[in-house]
Amino acid sequence: MKAENYMNLEFLSKSSNESFARVAVAGFAAQLDPTLDEIGDIKTAVSEAVTNAIVHAYPDRLGKISIKTKIYEGKVLEIVVRDWGRGIENIEQARQPLFTTGGEERSGMGFTIMESFMDKLTVRSTPERGTTVTMRKKISVRLSDRL
């Protein structure tokens, strides 16, 4: 399927970049005329994926984070967050609610929230090579889309 529009973003794993990363994706998604609620879902899911890359992928150094965003026919938004960090040994375990290797600072609810706020979540990872999180969400069709 060919994308109708795309946006690629690349930045350092500094926690000060979390905010603009979700703002940029939300700004790109705005052309789909999402509801406020959908914008919130997108920002939250992006924030979780980006935070994971900052906290877990590069725990003791700065590394590169990439976000590739695409829009497909039918108001489908795809967001791919990628890092080249530590990777995940056991993806199934990592996706369980409350599972965390992050200690008291993390809740272990990141993947659970991504799953519940997006329609589809895929996680691929290779230890010491990095992690790719792919999320999809169909934005609701509104009356104004038909005008």
Partner: protein, 101 residues
């Protein structure tokens, strides 16, 4: 992320302002703990009306305060939680563990 505290008679109210993501949580966690330790409250209220965004980092913050309040034999209440943050609490299934208004 700003942390504004007001306490009297072992009632502590903490107003959070800004984005409660990992960056914001990192910056505010110590201040929050300091507020709780110096007030040793029997009842604590987190006022969320100024929280413009929250992700699961906010859950970790709230759970930490909740744990400490239980140790102190006190209670924790969240007030004025905006819809976006409420949805995150709900998705994490945490809404039942807390009083959220």
């Amino acid at each position: 992320m700003e942390v504004l505290t007001k306490s009297s008679d072992r009632n502590l109210t903490i107003r959070l302002e800004g984005e409660l993501d990992h960056h914001g949580a990192k910056k505010s966690m110590r201040e929050l703990e300091r507020a709780v330790e110096s007030a040793l409250p029997l009842s604590a209220t987190l006022d969320f009306s100024g929280v413009t965004f929250m992700d699961s980092s906010g859950i970790a913050v709230v759970l930490r305060v909740l744990r400490r309040m239980r140790e102190l034999g006190g209670t924790l209440k969240l007030t004025k939680v905006p819809p976006q943050a409420k949805k995150v609490f709900d998705a994490a299934g945490i809404s039942q563990m807390l009083t959220i208004e």
